[in-house]
């Protein structure tokens, strides 16, 4: 078992790495705690071009079949809780025992940040990703009528997916401003970030609008004249001038209290109104799920454009710990296609280490492919993702860490 490469995470990054390694005749074991392989790709569903859909379930199945045909081993429904290094070997502690490898790839993806709002522990309140998975993967409606709190790329995309499945979205609104919702509750900042999803909207009006708003003055104008009941995107009112101040219900969600807010995020007194809903989604954005890298001893750097604290790594997807690699959203929040491309880079780097026939040139081409994929990505979680990637590259170069061996 010692010669096998182990990958934690069967999302797009892990699957593509597994396939690339297996194509080079390297034995691979993929460990994942979810019910099925595919990671967060499973729930994804959007129209790339008119009539062409990115269907995460189909993509996941395709990847899984390819991996299985190359004899990649899968251990699903298995959670990893700790990593240890003894001599040259990584010890992986899981709910199904300890596994060992010299080459370990962490492809654990991302998690959603919540924002606490009064009433948010009521059954029926869930993260927006939870509603996506319930709807597209399990095919169970999260409820009849929902309110989404948090206006961002992910919540806009998922609102559309809910509607496609026949689930009513009463509104997408902001959270009420408090210390923990900063940025997410300021209409101007949110409007700024929304300009980057506008291209996903089918309505030519919204698209033209987003071009007009690319300068600051127009943005301020846009907010001040922003209709209090919102504009409609995919027929769902997006309410940048309303905020949810409380989620209400006795034993389950029964509705939310909505208030009108000023452009600075403060509440217009007396404007509170109660609207009905049987589920509420909280959309606080994504951050890299990197606990395992932290347990392994990786140094971390906070890079806003990448979504939070990122384990130090280079373009070849190596960390500064020998035999430990990273790929996918653990290195920064981006779409599934970038994760796929990064998985390939990591796998080629590992095969080079194993002398299994990957040249520096192969790796370079794979890195270029990541860059190309990034440049043409349909979904961009941060408009300045490139600057974030650049920053990590620089930190790596400056820290000039000789490979740590312990």
């Amino acid at each position: 078992m010692n010669n096998k490469v182990i990958i934690i995470g069967a999302g797009p990054a892990g699957l593509s790495a597994a396939i690339t390694l297996a194509e080079k005749n390297i034995a691979v074991l993929v460990i994942d705690e979810y019910l099925y392989a595919g990671g967060r790709l499973l729930g994804q569903l959007y129209e790339e071009k008119p009539g062409t859909w990115w269907n995460g379930i189909v993509e996941s199945e395709r990847l899984l079949e390819r991996a299985k045909s190359l004899e990649v081993e899968f251990l699903l429904q298995t959670s990893v809780s700790d990593l240890e290094k003894v001599d040259q070997t990584w010890l992986i502690h899981t709910t199904k025992g300890i596994f060992r490898t010299r080459h370990l790839l962490l492809a654990t993806g991302a998690a959603e940040s919540p924002f606490p709002i009064p009433g948010w522990t009521l059954p029926g309140v869930m993260s927006v990703g939870a509603a996506q998975v319930m709807t597209n993967v399990h095919r169970v409606k999260p409820g009849k009528r929902g309110v989404i709190i948090g206006v961002n790329v992910l919540s806009s995309a998922i609102a559309m997916e809910l509607q496609l499945a026949g689930v009513q979205v009463a509104a997408i609104t902001l959270p009420h401003a408090n210390l923990l919702t900063k940025g997410n509750s300021n209409p101007l900042e949110v409007m700024n970030s929304l300009l980057h999803v506008a291209h996903m909207a089918p309505s030519p009006l919204v698209k033209i609008g987003s071009k007009l708003m690319k300068n600051d003055f127009m943005k301020k104008l846009g907010i001040n004249f922003y209709p209090k009941n919102g504009v409609k995107m995919w027929d769902i009112p997006i309410m940048l001038r309303k905020a949810v101040v409380e989620i209400v219900g006795k034993d389950e969600v029964e509705g939310v209290i909505l208030a009108t807010i000023n452009t600075d995020g403060s509440i217009v007194k007396g404007s509170e109104k109660r609207i009905k809903a049987d589920f509420v989604c909280i959309a606080g954005g994504l951050y890299p799920l990197a606990e395992l890298a932290s347990l392994a001893g990786c140094p971390f750097h906070y890079i806003e454009q990448l979504g939070g604290f990122i384990p130090l790594h280079n373009e070849q997807m190596e960390t500064n710990l020998e035999g430990l690699y990273v790929a996918g959203n653990i290195t920064g929040i981006e779409g599934a296609k970038v994760a796929l491309a990064q998985g390939k880079v990591a796998a080629l780097t590992i095969s080079q280490r194993l002398n299994a026939g990957a040249s520096q040139h192969d790796i370079k081409l794979a890195i270029q492919d990541v860059e190309k994929t990034r440049a043409t990505a349909h979904i961009q979680f941060h408009p300045d993702i490139l600057a974030g990637r650049q920053q990590m590259k620089q930190i790596w170069a400056e820290s000039v860490v000789p490979l740590a061996t312990h």
């Binding site: 859909w53 998690a111 959603e112 869930m126 496609l164």
Partner: protein, 113 residues
Amino acid sequence: MTERIMSHPVLGNLILKEKVTFTFDEQVFEGYEGESLAAALLAQGIRTLRLHEETGQPRGIYCNIGHCFECRVNVNGLEGERACLTPISDGMVVKSGQTLPTSVRDWRKNLEQ
């Protein structure tokens, strides 16, 4: 009551696996082999999976992908299992989490009265 999405304009018709039965707090429920416990219960209108250990407030799923542990239940005698990651199987016995005794707090409360 929520419902299953039987047909979907892009994802197509729902292909259901074999029907199984399981119990949740002694009540019998149906579901489909291998689907998540959280999904099977929600499809039958059950959102509350446990009561908070201390306050007794109801709790249900939050993240639905194994990160938050809000959905923890007792499955076949095992405590702390995540309903969103647990595939159901025939004859499975599930129990919701209940309030636990808080003896020190209760003792103090009684003392203050």
